[in-house]
Amino acid sequence: MICSGILIAVALVQPPTTGPQSATATLSVNLASLARVAFVSTTVAFPNADPDTVPKVAGVPASVGITAKARTTRNTQITLTVQSTDDLRSGVTVLPASLVTWTATGAGFVAGTLSRSSAQLVGSWTGSGVRSGSQSFFFENSWTHPPGTYTITLVYTISAP
């Protein structure tokens, strides 16, 4: 957190006479907009599973805690979005990022489907504050997925107008 304090003026005058004296000090604090998003875990793994018995593979950990902090001007709409940098890749084999979906808990957090082409809403709030929630990720399993170890990077962004 950045917090800068500037002491603007301090006027101290030698009292010319005895008796009650007063002095004025003006303290001005300049707070810049600031935001931070943190995760309990920055990795999610989807283990191998039989598509007939596990059509949707739950991620490990089952739930990823999210803390989104934002300090903005009053009534500002804060949004937390996620977008993948690419599709799921295992060497030259590619699976679409949209196979990854999530459910959410926590006020302001919403469920969604991952995309590499556009940022998807994870949560939105109004004004400054600390918001906590979680995402539970799922991978759509299928017999048509070629074997491999696929990776994908999710970029979370907190933004304000």
């Binding site: 931070r36 048509t144 170890t149 107008p161």
Partner: protein
């Protein structure tokens, strides 16, 4: 003049879009990495059993039974060739007799990867083939030739289906 007005309007629209796009300010970003593990896997399901009822050869020279469903699932590399075959454990239904050969057993198939064929005990016969991971479903409708030369009795053979990669 009209063209100039339209150009101005277009420029204004572009400017408005540009302003809107720039209006959102990124305050913070964070990356999360996800890993998905997918391994080779295969599953084969064949309906049955098949039962050919006794039929007068003069009234029907062949006996056709209801189609059976065949489900062949394979999660393999995109370039992998998949082969589904069937083979009989005996050359004749009435083995050690020789009156009802399994070569009299034929099938017609439905399903994009499935083909028609004739049963054999000498070599595996192709039922379906394709390339890459897939969930193939189809049917086989078996027909047995019905001849006067068959020895009476209840005879059976076992058909073994195999899903493999060469």
């Amino acid at each position: 003049m009209k063209k100039a007005v339209w150009s101005a309007a277009a420029a204004a629209a572009i400017l408005m879009c540009s302003t809107s796009a720039q209006a959102q300010t990124t305050l913070a970003t964070q990356n999360v990495t996800a890993t998905v593990t997918v391994t080779n896997l295969a599953r084969l399901t064949v309906g049955g059993p098949l039962s050919f009822p006794d039929t007068d050869p003069d009234s029907a020279t062949s006996i056709t039974v209801p189609a059976i469903n065949v489900s062949a699932k394979a999660r393999v590399a995109a370039s992998a060739n998949i082969l589904l075959t069937v083979i009989s454990d005996k050359s004749h239904f009435d083995a050690p007799g020789t009156t009802i050969p399994v070569s009299g057993l034929t099938w017609t198939a439905t399903g994009s990867a499935f083909i028609n064929g004739t049963m054999s005990s000498a070599g595996a016969q192709t039922v379906a083939s394709w390339t890459g991971p897939a969930n193939q479903t189809g049917t086989q409708t078996y027909t047995l030739a019905n001849l006067w030369s068959y020895a009476p009795g209840a005879h059976s053979v076992t058909l073994t289906y195999t899903l493999s990669t060469p």
